[in-house]
């Protein structure tokens, strides 16, 4: 079965027919179709729990009139179903538009006609399932043999290949051909009744070369080492502390606590503390934050593939681009999709993204990054009298309407008189984001990034975030003691 056959149904003739149907009835429409294939390998204690393969096609038809959107989702890609889905979607938009109290137009854009492709060094579809299994088994072996304290190992490998087509009423015709890969390692350890776990993952856009980097090859050993180390870690004492966050935690904090409040849909919905604050000082002068999901940044971090949170165009056909969010402490821009940019009278900046073509695009981040400063990591630690060095994160979340956030760190070290001391686990950090951005007292010069999935409105999209080591004064730390 030829993968692209399913996409060929949307040809010039059909697009013309759709345009004629839409004419005089609606103001904007777009259609996204995709053919997705991939494999999942899920191993626990060196035994396969799931080895699976899939072939899924879908199609999302979006229409707009009078401030109302219609959306119709199909799984059968044929001419007849697309035509009836299109009519159905128009009916929905007219219905929604008749009820909408927010009248606005979608600003016209020049058409983009382009084919995008990521050319992997080792194509995922050409790698035999046995080779993928051997890879997972080798990670399981490395982790389980690391220490007698290892109780369980779990390795999850997911790959996928997507061929997609985007057409809209501006005349866009965009095809994309890309593959991605993710590898997770999860290790449980046990000693004297205490159970600890560590999780790490790597992901990228490209082929099987993603799992051949030093970072990927060392993934399960790193996880095993961390899970063993956590057995000796102490529970933190709650209170107020000066903290130093590592690049991964810095990135997560910028993403969770600040980035979401910059999403213009939340701003319009009165759900962001950053509403009406463009041009205002919201952080220390040294703080510069950008979102730059353009392709070609892998090399910057020594990776032979495209970064997980990056893309050519967003899911509304707008090219990805670098957006300055904060410059020298001043809030400069929100992140936009077609609707929010049209309503706020600015250009869209390529942040209308969805988890699949079956879901409606929302305003989402891409690769959010805090720009580096001048402090070396050693000087940052040496200059801190009584604090906590927080490395990596387990998870984080925020209430964008108030700015109250919380993060759970993976590793934390007590710092006493400029020296890194004992390891602590499950340190929680909480604060109010606008207060915290003003409490940043030093920004480091050593940067890195991490990748993952970000959830919003029931959809998950690929993201990256990062930055340097930073020091923040007076942060609330939670603990069991």
């Amino acid at each position: 079965m030829d993968l692209t056959d399913d996409l060929k149904v949307i040809d010039e003739k059909l697009i013309k027919e759709l345009s004629n149907i839409a004419k005089d009835k609606i103001e904007y429409w777009d259609i996204r179709t995709g053919v997705n294939t991939g494999a999942t390998l899920d191993f626990t204690d060196s035994k396969s729990k799931e080895i699976s393969s899939h072939y899924v096609t879908d199609c999302g038809i979006r229409t707009f009139v009078n401030g109302g959107w219609g959306f119709s989702v199909l799984k059968d890609l044929n001419r007849k179903s697309i035509l009836s889905g299109f009519q159905e979607s128009i009916k929905l938009a007219i219905f929604t538009g008749s009820l909408s109290k927010n009248r606005f137009k979608i600003s016209q854009r020049d058409p983009l006609i382009k084919d995008f492709k990521v050319s992997p060094k080792k194509k995922i579809e050409e790698i035999d399932i046995v080779e993928k299994i051997n890879l997972v088994k080798s990670h399981e072996k490395l982790a389980s043999e690391f220490s007698p304290k290892i109780k369980n190992t779990h390795t999850l490998y997911i790959d996928g290949h997507t061929n997609s087509l985007f057409v809209n009423s501006f005349g866009n015709h965009i095809t994309q051909d890309l593959s991605f890969l993710r590898l997770f390692s999860l290790v449980y350890t046990q000693e004297n009744g205490s159970i600890q776990r560590a999780v790490n993952s790597i992901g990228g856009i490209g082929g099987f070369e993603i799992i051949s980097t030093e970072k990927a090859e060392g993934l399960s050993l790193k996880t095993a080492r961390e899970a063993v180390a956590l057995l000796k870690a102490k529970s933190p004492v709650g209170g107020k502390f000066t903290i130093i966050t590592d690049p991964k935690l810095t990135g997560t904090m910028i993403h969770e606590a600040f980035g979401h409040a910059c999403e213009a849909d939340l701003v319009l919905n009165n759900d962001s503390i950053l509403k009406d604050r463009i041009g205002e000082k919201v952080a220390s002068e040294e703080v510069n934050i950008v979102d730059n999901p353009t392709m070609g940044q892998g090399k910057r971090f020594g990776m032979p593939y495209e970064l997980f949170g990056c893309y050519f165009v967003d899911d509304e056909g707008i090219p990805s681009q670098k957006t300055t969010i904060i410059e020298n402490g001043i809030l400069k821009n929100y992140l936009h999709d077609l609707e929010t940019s049209s309503r706020m009278g600015v250009s869209p900046n390529g942040h209308g993204r969805s988890s699949s073509v079956s879901s409606r695009p929302q305003v989402r981040m891409g690769f959010t990054f805090l720009e580096p400063g001048e402090w070396s990591t050693e000087d940052l630690i040496a200059d801190t009298k009584n604090g906590i060095l927080c490395e990596d994160f387990q998870y984080g979340y925020t209430d964008p309407s108030t700015g109250n956030f919380q993060f759970k760190c993976k590793f934390s070290y007590h710092i006493v008189n400029g020296e890194k001391k004992e390891l602590m686990r499950d340190v929680s950090l909480s604060g109010m984001i606008l207060e915290v951005l003003n409490k940043i007292s030093a920004i480091g010069n050593q940067t890195s990034y991490s990748d993952g999935m970000c959830g919003k409105g029931g959809q998950s999209v690929r993201v990256c975030d990062g930055g340097p080591y930073i020091r923040i004064e007076d942060i609330t730390v939670g603990g069991l003691n």
Binding site: S46, S48, V73, Q190, I195, S401
Partner: protein, 458 residues
């Protein structure tokens, strides 16, 4: 692919193909699902988007004589795709590792429970326009309140049919419906300029049970209760968990910890605690899949095993029989499946999930419980989850208030709770008469003594 007869033809084709192609297969299964949904979304307290969609698909699971499993899925329900999926699943099986703990897929059952109210014909034929009354009621509540500045929310309805066929001769099919409403209201204090949100949702099998006015009013009340937040100092005080809080800190962690798979891998903080009294007499929990009309009820589980009612905790004792099993984990333990095989869709192999997970209420009113608290915290919800391997919980209270002299007072900012769940169970001093149901979870208010609170005030 419109008729059930087509599904039976595809299933028989797939099962015979697998039998023909491999002598090594011990058992095979085809799981079909057909879904249709409608959704209307509100943003900025105005109807913003309406959506119609479908998701049909099939998952093919095969296991060989050594217990090695292969799985393949697609949303194309046509014969050539079934052919390709069966061949791919066999290829995956051949590459997979043996598992001596695997025995077989379920055998056919003589009898299935009879349940009422899982299917509402009105939802099967529902048009987007028919849901407008519910959406308008949400909008009205927000519009008529002076402090409410915005609302986002949704109405979603779903009609689903499931067909399971396995090579042991098991053949089951069922249909059900569900609908849900949600409201997220933002309020603003004109004087302090502070904003806050409240969130409420309801999920039902039948359209007539949805109460839009009640949902929006609850969200609004919650938003107002959380306005003008204050930082507090560290303290050790009693905490009253609301039903949402009880679900987050008691029911969900227990549901994860009694999942037999987590348990067998010894990743649960309840390992080695079976048959022990680990909570006070107020800790009574059951998983009951047989409640008429309830959202977690079902005639059969994700492998076609009849659903049941199981006691998990009785008067603080973690019952020896209180684990949730699918057919694999039950065989491993030498017991029967509890009918808890859970499948989020045709695209996943069965895992383990709850049916209706219920904490028993009492006959004491919540007002009476609050009245006796001199200084304490009302904990509504958090974005954190406890660590299931250690039972440790340390999280931010996203919504919570001080209780002073028996009254709910100022909301909390930057306030965290730290407790181990085993201590929490021992410290439960009361549960309320009032309870709420959110999806598959039902919980009362719960009073827990001596909880460590970390405040953001210096």
């Amino acid at each position: 692919m419109d008729t059930n007869a087509d599904i039976f033809t595809l299933a028989n084709y797939g099962l015979s193909l697998i039998e023909q192609k491999s002598q090594e297969v011990r058992c095979a299964e085809l799981f079909f699902e057909k879904n249709k949904y409608i959704s209307i979304e509100i943003e900025e307290n105005s109807v913003k988007n309406s959506e119609l969609g479908e998701d049909n698909g099939v998952g093919v699971r095969v296991v060989n004589r050594k217990g090695a499993l292969g799985f393949a899925f697609s949303n194309k329900l046509i014969k050539p795709m079934i052919h390709e999926l069966c061949i791919t699943a066999l290829k995956m099986m051949n590459a997979s590792t043996p598992d001596p703990d695997f025995d077989n897929f379920p055998k056919p059952y003589q009898k299935y429970p009879t349940l009422k109210g899982l299917f509402d014909g009105n939802l099967k034929t529902l048009q987007v326009e028919d849901s407008l009354d519910y959406v308008n009621q949400l909008i009205d509540v927000c519009e008529q309140d002076k402090m409410a500045i915005s609302q986002s929310g949704s109405f979603i309805s779903n009609y689903s049919k499931i067909f399971i066929f396995n090579s042991n001769g098991l053949e089951v099919s069922g249909k059900d419906t569900s609908c849900s409403l949600s409201s997220h209201i933002i309020v603003k204090d004109d004087v302090s300029k502070e904003t806050s949100f409240g969130y409420e949702w309801q999920s039902e099998r039948s359209l007539r049970n949805l109460n839009a006015v009640n949902i929006a009013n609850t969200a609004l009340k919650e938003a107002k209760r959380n306005l003008n937040r204050k930082k507090i100092k560290n303290m050790k005080v009693p905490v009253i968990l609301t039903p949402k809080g009880t679900i987050q800190l008691i029911l969900r962690p227990i549901a994860s910890a009694v999942n037999a798979e987590t348990f067998q891998y010894k990743r649960s903080y309840l390992v080695d605690k079976r048959d022990e009294f680990i909570g006070t007499k107020y800790l009574n929990i059951e998983d009951n899949g047989l409640i008429d009309g309830a959202i977690g009820s079902s005639i059969f589980d994700g492998e076609g095993v009849p659903c049941k009612n199981k006691k998990i905790f009785h008067k603080g004792k973690f019952l020896n029989t209180g684990l949730l099993h699918n057919s694999y984990t039950s065989t491993k333990e030498g017991t029967q499946s509890s009918g808890n095989a859970s499948r989020s869709s045709y695209s996943s192999i069965p895992s383990i999930g709850v049916t209706n997970f219920i904490m028993q209420n009492s006959d004491i009113g919540i007002n009476e419980i609050i009245k006796d608290v001199k200084k304490g915290i009302l904990f509504d919800y958090t974005g954190d989850t406890p660590n299931i391997s250690t039972g440790d919980f340390s999280g931010l209270i996203l919504h919570g208030n001080m209780i002073r002299n028996g009254e709910i007072k100022e909301p909390l900012n930057e306030t965290m709770v730290g407790i181990n769940l085993m201590d929490l169970y021992k410290n439960i001093e009361a549960v309320s008469k009032e309870y709420k149901t959110y999806g598959a979870f039902q919980a009362p208010y719960t009073l827990v003594k001596d909880v460590q609170i970390i405040g953001g005030a210096s």
